[in-house]
Every structure is written in C-alpha cells, then in structure tokens.
C-alpha cells in the first residue's frame, strides 16, 4: 500500500479512536497495536512492552515529573496569591495596575511552573475576584487570567519544551532560553490588549488604579514571596549557566521548593504533603504514559514508513517556505483545538522537524511557534483547559464571557507568531548569546 494512503488511514483511525472518549495514552497504544498487527503480524507484539519501556528510559524525561513536582508544591501553597498581592501593592499606580499585575504574576509564576492550568488557577483564584471588585469587565478579568495562564508552557521551564527536546533530540536548555523572550513578548501583547480594552470600555478609573498602599504595606509583604523568587533565580542560574542538566536542576529545585513551602507556608502536615505528591503523581503518570504511548505510535509510523513518506511528500511539494509554515501552523492549531499539547508535539514533531530544517527554519524558533500554537489550544473550545479552570474559579462568569474575553488574546498570540516570523531573532538571539552558535 502507498504509505501516504496508509498515512491517511492511520490519521482517520487515530481521530476516531481518540474521539471515543478512551484515555489518550491507551488510545495511542490501541492504534499502534492495531496497525502493527495488521501490517507486521502478531510476531512483533512481544516486543511492544520493551519498546514502551525504552521510550521512557531517558534521564531527560525525568525533568518532567520533577518540574511538575516543583509546580505542584508552589501551586498547593499560598505563593500564587502572595505573588499577586505583592505585584498589586507595587504596581497599583501604574495605569491598569491590576490587570498588569495579574499578567505579571502569571508570567512570574510561569517561571516556576511548567504547566499552564497551574499558573491559571494559582493567580486567578485571587486575581479574578479582585479585578471584578474594582470594576474591570468580566471579559477582561476572566480572559486575561485564562490567557496569562498559557504563559506557563512558553516561559521556561516548560513541560512541552522538554517533550519537544526529547522527541527531536534538541537541547532542552537551549529550548528554554528560546522561549524566554517570546514569552515576554506575548506577556507584553497581553498587557497592551488588556489596557486597551479596559480603556475602550470607558472604565478609566479601573484602568488607572485607585487604591494606594503605604511603603510599609509594600515592604511588609515582600518576605512572603522572597524565598520563591530566590528559587526561581537559582533555577534560572543553574539552567542557563549550564551548571546542571534540566533534570538535575528540576530535582534540586523541587526539593528546595518543598523545604521552603514547609518552612514559609508551614506545609508539613502529611495531608498537605500528600496533596502535593498526589497531584504530582496524577499529572506525571498521565503525561509519561502519553510519552511512552506516543513513542510506540511513532515507532509504528516509522516502521510502516509513514513518517519518512510524509516528510518526503511535504519536502517535494515545492511550495514557498512561508506557505508551508502557514499550513503547518493551521495543522497545529487544529490539533491543539482537540488534543493535549504533549500528544500533539510527540506525534507531529518527528515528522515536522526534518521538513522544518529542510525548509531552512531554525528548530528552536519552531519550538516556540509550536508552543504558542499549543497555548492557543488551551483557551479555545472545544477542549480548552484554561477555560474550564476559570469556569471553576469564577462559576458566576458566564462561559460565553470567558470565551469572548479570551478570544482577543488568541489574536495576540497569532500576532506574536507573525512577529516571530518577521523577527526570528526574538527566539534565537538569547540562546545564541548565552550558549553560543551550534
């Protein structure tokens, strides 16, 4: 059979299976096993557990549960609320102080958490009620937090970047660096839109900020977040100074966060620690199963020569590289509407990467583009995790309002993608400066 026809069949089968409501990891195993039996016979079946095992057997993968653990510690503590309070007290005289401090808090929290919903929940819990209280429209309050939360996977550390690094054999430290400036760019675009929309809706008072805090109030709250800022600084230093590998940094960072939370937030009761470990286990096992299963899925694709044929087909299309990039973006967006970021990256990156490199694009720049696409998926229906998180925090905001509020931020992210296409240096400059050329 022509591998491309086979590819189409695999695509349809995968879509059907995943839409059945079966867990994504199990669904990927099912599709892989099905096609292996159909085209390779049952002789390969005894190999599958060892292949699955092998897909997880890497020190790099370990960074994922460790960063998740680190994020879980911080998310289970009051650090998110404290971070929000600190920024609020310090930025209150800045125009639109509250929405700015919320997005700022999201950006900073992102630097500790590899995951978006954690960022969203931690900051939104205090940020949304405060914004509504001070007269920000529901759309801005909900939309800005939903969007701000997506920064969790763009601003390093980022679970999706680790997964990209593993599946494309690119340097994770370099990927993290590549995400930093685009993360700030997206943050700035978010802030700009928030201010504009608040101003346009005629709420100048909210936009300008009204409550004054004394210097005493400003300083007395600082110690609350200082330890975590120190850990962020230490983690960033270790990662970018090349002192240790991401996995080592994450493991030590997780322990430091845990100790800090136990001291500063008195999180030493077994029940509290179990909450942290339970959340870590739940998210890590889920992601690692998808990683193993997607690994088996790509083994199936490669074994049936589908990966190679698609890559060859795309490279022979002979279209302008920017048209190609446009199509790839649409493809990723559609995948991101439905599927979790990790699954999209694992299934598409091995196929897309050779095409991207062949067309003369930088693989680190592309990782950023890919991640922003995945961020969009987090705030778009039908499967937009951050929307549900907001709906849970602020149940009286109608989902339509959240959706309407989040939509402009989707446009901000698309703008960021366009800007990055014109100025790829935003992604490539920092890694080249810090680590050097490749």
């Amino acid at each position: 059979m022509d591998p491309l026809i086979l590819a189409a069949i695999v695509g349809i089968a995968t879509t059907l299976v995943l839409f059945s409501g079966i867990p994504v990891g199990i669904g990927l195993l099912l599709v892989s096993v099905g096609f292996i039996i159909a085209f390779d016979g049952t002789g390969s079946l005894p190999l599958l557990p060892e292949i699955l095992f092998g897909k997880l057997e890497s020190f790099e993968v370990l960074a994922i549960p460790m960063f998740i653990l680190m994020g879980a510690v911080v998310a289970c503590s009051r650090a998110g609320g404290d971070l929000y309070s600190v920024l609020d007290r310090w930025l209150t005289r800045v125009p639109g102080g509250l929405v700015i401090s919320n997005l700022g808090a999201c950006a900073i929290f992102s630097a500790l958490s590899g995951s978006s919903p954690a960022t969203c929940a931690a900051i939104g819990k205090m940020g949304i009620p405060a914004m509504r209280e001070r007269g920000f429209p529901d759309t801005v309050a909900a939309g800005s937090i939903a969007a701000g939360g997506t920064l969790g996977i763009l601003i390093p550390p980022s679970v999706t970047m680790i997964v990209y690094g593993i599946s494309t054999e690119t340097s994770i430290g370099r990927l993290f660096l590549a995400g930093l400036l685009p993360g700030l760019l997206v943050t700035a675009l978010f802030m700009a839109w928030s201010l504009y929309s608040t101003w346009r809706q005629g709420n100048a008072k909210a936009a300008l900020g009204s409550i004054k805090y004394s210097w005493k109030e400003k300083f007395e709250i600082l110690p609350r977040v200082l330890p975590f800022l120190v850990i962020i600084a230490a983690v960033l230093f270790a990662l970018y100074g090349g002192v240790a590998t991401p996995s080592e940094t994450a493991g030590v960072g997780a322990l430091f966060c845990l100790i800090t939370a136990m001291i500063v937030y008195r999180m030493w009761k077994p029940g509290q620690l179990w909450t942290v470990m339970r959340d870590t286990t739940k998210e890590s096992v889920m992601i690692l199963l998808i990683i193993g299963a997607a690994g088996l899925f790509s083994y199936m694709l490669s074994s049936l020569f589908i990966t190679q044929s698609i890559a060859q087909w795309i490279s022979e299309l002979d279209v302008n590289r920017w048209v190609l990039m446009g199509f790839i973006n649409v493809f990723l967006l559609i995948c991101g509407f439905f599927l979790p970021p990790v699954a999209v990256i694992l299934m598409s990156a091995p196929i897309l990467l050779p095409v991207i490199i062949n067309a003369g694009f930088d693989p680190y720049w592309f990782a950023v583009i890919l991640t922003i696409n995945m961020e969009i998926g987090l705030i778009t229906p039908p499967v937009g995790l951050n929307l549900y998180v907001i709906n849970g925090i602020a149940p009286d905001i109608r989902l339509q309002s959240i959706l309407r509020g989040a939509f402009p931020y989707v446009l901000c992210m698309i703008t960021a993608i366009v800007i990055l296409c014109f100025f790829p240096q935003i992604a490539t400059w920092l890694p080249e400066t810090v680590i050097g050329g490749r």
Binding site: E57, G173, G242, Y299, Q308
Partner: protein, 309 residues
C-alpha cells in the same frame, strides 16, 4: 526490482556518520548486484532506539543493525570484551583481532543468540583533559572524568578518578562549567562536540590506544538463513567493500581529530609502551577482573583476546 525482498536496517547515528555510510555502501552494493534484495536504512534511531534494537534482531523482527556490540553486554557478557581498555592497541591490531580465534568465538556466541556478523569494524577514541596531559594512570587521580563504557569507568575509578556518567553531548557544557575535568570518548565525538575548545591536552588514539570499540554490521540469523546463495554472496561482497571503507575512515577520524586539536592549540600527548602497560596493569586489576568474575568462561575468553599479538 519490484518484488525484491526488503530488509530493515536500523542504527542510531545521523546520515553523515561513518557508520551510516558503511551501511549505505552495503545497501548500494547489494542493490547493484541485482539479487532481489533491498536494504532500507532507518538512521538516527528513527525505528528503534540504540539499546532497543537487540531483542527484535534476535527474533527476526528487525533484519540488520549497526551496533556497538558492547551494548549487548547485559545479555551476552562476553561482548563486554569488545569495549575493554588496553585490549586493542591500534587499527592494525584490530584487523588482526577480526581474523582471530577470539572473534570466531564471539561469532559463535552471537550465532547462538540468533545473530550473524555481516561486516566488522572498530572505531577508536582517546582522552582529553582540562587539567593536564593524561599519560599514566596517576594523571587521572582526583579528576572528575566521563568515560565511554563501564569497563573504562571501572579502570579509571581504579586509577583514582571520580566518574560522572553522562552522554557525550553533555561533555562540552560540563567542562565549560568545570563540573568535568576530563573525558573519554571517540575521536569523532571529540571533534563534533568541539571538545578542543575546552581542554588543554588531548591523548588521541595512535600507536598505543586505550579505547577501541567494536561496532559491526549485524544481521538477524532468521533473515540470513532465508537468503538464497546469490543474495548471500552479494552481501559478502558488499561487506568486504564496506569493511575496507570502515577501517580506512576509522584511521582517518583519529588523524583528523589530532589535526583539529593541534589547530586549536591543544597539546597532544602520545602513550608510550610503558604508559600502555601501566594502564593495562590497572585494567587487569579492575575491569578485566570484574569481567572474569561475571562472565562464564571469562578467563578463557580474555586469554584468547590477549593472545592476539
């Protein structure tokens, strides 16, 4: 031709690597022989990761691999001898080992596991240090060092070094930050990871080399037995050509690496016969002893290998 048998060959390296080119020569030659045999190469671990290849090979689910044979050491302990310090001195010695009873014995063990050797080949490597030249075992005392292979780790530990296990891609950043003082890897990796930017002295693989790794092209016995005589002959002819290229490129990688390090202003250290003997003395007490201890007929195999002059 249209109804040709297609064999899957898997390996872990990029398409610019010498080991890919060796595989490519075999594939091209076999195709040119027009014996209804196609070899499809899956490079860069795109089918199986390096260490996942062995089981499918032995079961005939994968037809061919290019593999550092020591990767099978956990399953066939005897293959640990193919990555053993101070066992192979240089490329000429490696070629003599290829034709020795020792290698016949290894082949026998492989056959028992369902694997046959298609083409033999060794690649060498050396040591590089940011602290000073590594001539004798004493030179590594107290150094934080990365070694390629567990028997090298054992030997270096025996010489008083601290071992930091990491992939060769991590050597550069680890040396940059001072975590690592010295490293042992292949000549090609030293160049491709630009280690010459970080070190003071390079001990290359020359007349007396410590690090040689056997990385043959292997085939599943199940697949091999299914081939007809014409196909087997074509394969053997292709392998002969590939082997010649392999050994020539292996030597070239060593000499090229020396040139690159020299150009970068790095001091070059050569091992004398006494240095080599000193290392072998340490190896005997550490890695050789450990090998004998954990391998059935270990002493006999080791003696066979050491007997090749």
């Amino acid at each position: 031709s249209a109804n040709a048998e297609t064999l899957k060959l898997s390996h872990q390296w990029s398409t610019s690597d010498v080991r890919h080119k060796v595989a490519q020569i075999i594939a091209d030659e076999v195709k040119a022989a027009d014996v209804d045999l196609d070899i499809q190469i899956f490079p860069s671990g795109s089918l199986f990761k390096a260490k996942e290849q062995w089981t499918p090979m032995t079961r005939g689910q994968l037809d061919m691999i290019v593999l550092p044979l020591a990767y099978a050491g956990g399953r066939i302990p005897a293959t640990n001898l193919t990555l053993m310090p101070a066992l192979v001195k240089n490329h000429d010695h490696a070629n003599r080992i290829n034709e020795s009873p020792f290698m016949d014995k290894i082949e026998e063990l492989l056959n028992e596991e369902g694997v046959v050797t298609v083409a033999k080949g060794w690649l060498a490597g050396g040591f590089a240090s940011a602290k000073g030249c590594i001539h004798k075992p004493d030179d590594v005392k107290g150094l934080q060092i990365r070694a390629a292979g567990k028997s090298f780790e054992q030997m270096l530990q025996g010489a008083g070094a601290s071992i930091a296990a990491m992939p060769s891609s991590e050597i550069y950043p680890a040396m940059q930050t001072g975590v690592l003082d010295a490293a042992n890897t292949s000549s090609a990796s030293f160049v491709s990871y630009r280690i010459y930017e970080q070190v003071k002295c390079y001990t290359p693989a020359a007349e007396n080399a410590l690090w040689f790794m056997y990385q043959p092209v292997l085939m599943s016995k199940k697949t091999y037995d299914k081939l007809n005589d014409a196909q087997k002959d074509a394969l053997a002819a292709a392998a002969k050509k590939a082997e010649a290229y392999y050994t020539e490129e292996g030597r070239k990688q060593d000499s090229d690496s020396v040139q690159v390090f020299k150009d970068a202003g790095v001091e070059i250290a050569d091992l004398t016969d006494e240095d080599f003997a000193a290392w072998q003395e340490i190896a005997k007490k550490t890695s050789y002893a450990k090998f004998v201890e954990e391998t059935p007929n270990g002493q006999e195999l080791l003696d066979m290998a050491l007997a090749v002059k």
